[in-house]
């Protein structure tokens, strides 16, 4: 089943209705992309924009709080230079300025969503785009906190896309030092208890200290995978090694020099001493200490297995075929985590080409495939955000750092199905001049069943025909 339409559905984002069937070599089509770099997205916001918006928001929030005698002070000075910033938001009427500052952050989020959807609808590299979505979900950050709304999308743009066809280690390093991740998993606030700042705070009776959230999720989600032999002590030691990793102008790096919003290492936050993690000793080295641990994790056999399993689950089956997992794992280990090598092993796996075991499309995949099938080239971020929210998969807003689930049981459910039917009707109603009887064979290829073809041909209107195509059993799967 190596035709282009099949490959576009399984490894890409679904065929576009206007596209001619083209050559039939689906594997060649996908492999050709592996040798390329993923094209950048033009005109997107930067981390400097996000930092400026967040700082403006904080300032307005503080102003708002000072105006309310009943509220707690927003910043409690500790150690002369450090500040504590409560994440909780005031439950009080919001002044206009604060609302504007919030809107500015939300605007950044929408512009980034816009860019992501625009790329998904028009890209010449659908396999690479799919991989970008995969990795963004692997390294999930959620636009779910006041601090991360403007930042969440930037992780994908700045840390994942540039490293998509490079080494896993480089992507990992870029991700864990990105302000979006440092904010989302509370690392920007973490202080070594025996660091200069920690001791000063202690003398003043302030309890500031370690936050182990990032360290735990790196081990559990980003690298080794859960239940792979590390202990609580490894988590805590790793968290200590990472102290000092923060953001200039934000977090506990507020008073630290550097471009506002960029990663910075704040020596005064760093827990002194050597650390032992997974049985290996890491000597004191400031910023290098955490970096050295990450580099070892990046090429660890458990990481290879974890990444291989997730890729196989994503592209082949909810229950990842063991032989395929082993193949990807070996490709990862032998190449030291060279991602193109792993992608080629993926495309060379017969399990991934098995037409008899389709994957149930998640809401993002289904929405993108639907819009492409309808020939839509632009879908305003605001509208898409609303639709994906209703479909249960709001862009860059998973409910946990584990990202969105990648199995049918999470998406194939009664109400979820009803929502797709509603969304399909809305999408189909917004296009004109398309005949589903012509489009369906182009986007579904050999998958199109006589039952669906008949249902489409009997629809009472062109729009109903298109909606039926989008929610047909074969279109819901890839």
């Amino acid at each position: 089943m190596n035709d282009l339409i099949f490959a576009e559905n399984r490894f890409g984002l679904g065929p576009r209705s206007g596209q001619s069937p083209g050559r039939s070599d689906g594997r060649g089509w996908a492999e050709a992309q592996v040798g390329q770099r993923l094209a950048g997205l033009p005109g997107i916001p930067t981390r400097a924009d996000a930092a400026a918006a967040l700082l403006a928001y904080r300032e307005e929030r503080q102003n708002a709080r000072q105006g309310q005698a009943a509220m707690q002070p927003a910043a409690m000075p500790t150690g002369g230079t450090m500040t504590i910033t409560p994440a909780a938001e005031a439950k009080a009427p919001r002044p206009h300025e604060l609302q504007m500052a919030r809107r500015e952050q939300r605007e950044l989020y929408l512009r980034l969503v816009d860019a992501r959807i625009g790329a998904a609808l028009t890209t010449e590299q659908p396999f690479l785009e799919r991989l970008a979505h995969f990795w963004a979900n692997h390294f999930a950050v959620g636009a779910t906190k006041a601090t991360t709304i403007g930042y969440a999308g930037l992780l994908e743009m700045e840390a994942i896309r540039p490293h998509l066809t490079g080494r896993f280690a480089d992507m990992l390093m870029a991700v864990e030092r990105h302000p979006a991740m440092l904010l989302y998993l509370d690392q920007a606030q973490s202080v070594g208890p025996n660091s200069v700042a920690g001791q000063r705070a202690g003398q003043r009776g302030r309890d500031v200290g370690l936050n182990e959230n990032l360290a735990r999720e790196i081990l559990e989600l980003h690298t080794l995978g859960v239940r792979t032999g590390y202990a609580q002590a490894d988590v805590t030691e790793f968290a200590r090694a990472l102290t000092g990793w923060t953001i200039a102008g934000l977090g506990r790096g507020r008073a630290i020099d550097g471009a506002e919003g960029d990663f910075t290492f704040a020596a005064m936050l760093h827990e002194p001493g050597s650390r032992t993690i997974l049985g290996k000793r890491y000597g004191e080295g400031g910023e290098e200490q955490g970096r050295a641990v990450l580099m070892d994790l990046a090429v660890h056999p458990a990481t290879a297995r974890h990444v291989a399993t997730k890729l196989a689950r994503h592209f082949a089956a909810d229950d990842p075929p063991p032989a395929m997992v082993t193949r990807l794992e070996q490709a990862f280990l032998k190449s030291g985590g060279d991602l193109p090598t792993v992608y080629r092993a993926l495309l060379a796996s017969p399990e991934a080409w098995d037409a008899a075991s389709p994957k149930f499309r998640n809401p993002w995949e289904w929405s993108v495939a639907s819009l492409r099938a309808l020939g839509v080239e632009r879908s305003p971020g605001q509208r898409a955000v609303g639709m994906l929210q209703e479909l249960g998969m709001p862009v860059w807003r998973p409910t946990s750092p584990a990202g969105f689930d990648d199995v049918a049981a999470s998406w194939a459910a009664p109400d979820a199905l009803m929502r797709r039917v509603e969304a399909a009707q809305r999408m189909a109603g917004a296009v004109s001049g398309l005949d589903a009887r012509v489009v369906a064979p182009r986007v579904l290829g050999a998958r199109l069943t006589p039952a669906t073809a008949t249902a489409i041909s009997r629809a009472e209107s062109p729009a109903t025909g298109l909606a039926l195509m989008l929610v047909s059993p074969e279109f819901l799967r890839r």
Binding site: A87, A88, A90, V226, Q232, S400, E422, A455, S472
Partner: protein, 377 residues
Amino acid sequence: MDRRSFLTCSAAGVAAATFAPTLAFAKAATDKRFLFVIQRGAADGLMTLMPTGDPGLAALRPQLAVEGGTKLDGMFTLHPALKQTAALYAAKQAMFVHAVASPYRDRSHFDGQNVLETGGSLPYRLRDGWMNRLVSTMPDDPKAIAFSPTVPPALRGAAQVASYAPSNLPDASQDLLIRVGDLYQADKQLGPLWNQALSARAQAGDLASARGAAAAGALAAKMMAGPNGARIGMVETDGWDTHSGQKGRLNAQLTGMDAMLAAFREGLGADWSNTLVLVATEFGRTARENGTGGTDHGTGSVAWLLGGAVSGGKVVADWPGLSQAALYEDRDLKPTTALDSLIATALAQQFGQDPARLAATLFPETGAKPLPKLLVA
């Protein structure tokens, strides 16, 4: 005619022709109801139900301490955000079991939730959930529903389960609904899902687009009230993972939970007297607050039992204490009551089943045992 009125008015005809008629109209063999509310993210039991009588608390939680609240006994004080829950407690329709935990002893949310929802002894050992197995132990079809667009793991399994949550999408046309039904009929996965979706939406009626915590409670009540209401339901709540800024966030979370439970009670009307609500989380949080105004992943937490069927007005706890030596791994509230045993005991009483047999069915590998204490009237 919009879709909802179409479904309400003519569902009988459509159902008879196209869908399994049992889904919408079967009357379950029991009048009893059970709602499970999961708190995803490891809710802080030590602040939900504060052991203010334990001298250790103040030392562990200097910044997070909360003023006020409702004193339940010499030891425990309910968080001040839980006002309506406190009234239920006074009416002996709420009780709490403190220092509980599932068999899970590590600190991954996803594994912890998997153990809590599958009812296994380790993550990913069982593929179906204990709520789905509960459905299978009951005669006829008791109708189970998840109040979310998808079915959470606790309700996944062999028994057919509905899912429903309010949507802002425009209703699909009657014509499209019928054609989609035809298209899915032969599909083993999609056919049954579609039938469930139709009957759930028909039942939601006016509340089909309501939002917010109280609306969620009212919706759940609407779907579970009356002779044809679902007997088993599950609500998912998230946002409990308070690593930083916990004080304000937990207050908001508990305020929402309080409103949701109150709306659920009110909406159920007379059926409240037959209802048991269980609120539980995958594990607790560290006993000591961390350096960022929050707490990290811990072990023991608190479970809530509410409803007209509950013999409430008490806190049950084999209290382990909060001294340094008493903490689990020098970090967490030590669990002294098994959550699975609590669930099995409460459900056996609620549905008149043999406790040992039900425990073995719901939690086949954990060795859950009925609790000696009588939890439910």
